[in-house]
Symmetry: C2
Amino acid sequence: MVYALHLNGPLQPRGRWKADECSIGRALDVVGTRSALLILREAFYGTARFDDFVERAGVSQPVAAARLRELVMNGLLERVTYQEPGQRARRGYRLTEKGAGLLPALTALMQWGDRWLAPAGGPLAILHRECGEPVQAELRCSAGHRPEIGELELAQGPGSLTESP
Amino acid sequence: MVYALHLNGPLQPRGRWKADECSIGRALDVVGTRSALLILREAFYGTARFDDFVERAGVSQPVAAARLRELVMNGLLERVTYQEPGQRARRGYRLTEKGAGLLPALTALMQWGDRWLAPAGGPLAILHRECGEPVQAELRCSAGHRPEIGELELAQGPGSLTESP
């Protein structure tokens, strides 16, 4: 079974173009480290304080500081001051709309890990609160179909591709 | 607007557990580098030969060799011998079912990059061949709803969580 995507006519032969400006590459320029993605995971799981990011993402203080700074600089997290009842005001971090837009990618990684790396099932599940059903990241086309990989095609988008020398 | 997930009762307070065994963390142990994800992207885009992975993923030969070895060892790619008409047999790599299972995660990264990092639109698009419509990775529950982040809940799964000291 071959799992590669079909290449749309203008993308053939494959040797003629490079995906340098591909949005996957651009996304990985911003979140292409394990530590960045673990810190984003923790933000989705309700972590806000620096010390909690360090402990829960399992990274060193300098790594957490560098990643949090980059994620703020790139607009995925924002610094906030918050106050819990009876406690003093604290500085922390929370997801922006841009950062929150990565939930489908993290959900897809979770379900892949559940399927392939967690024989007893994963320790956490994402549910739709209203109906209690588990939530998955799934591939759908705008017409509502759920294509298999063999039914997918890679085509040129509006942005420009790099020609290969 | 707060973009964190609601925590299901047993997951409160947040300080009591750690997501050490979370399937996102496990997945990132396998594909938590920019170079691994770019090599997988190239495999989906039809790249098979070592030299082509080096050039198209834009990584050095030692990095490509290390990542390809790890991806084969972890069962995401497999080594194959293939022969194009009129050419000699060549050794290459192709995605396994396990590796191909990461397409929703890569598609989600692509659409996030298209949305937030590519003002003119991305250079590539994934289409459903049969109907020609663009394909997206979207969050759906088993009942078919498309919940917003605020309607999602993080709950315990079948695997066990680490208790925080």
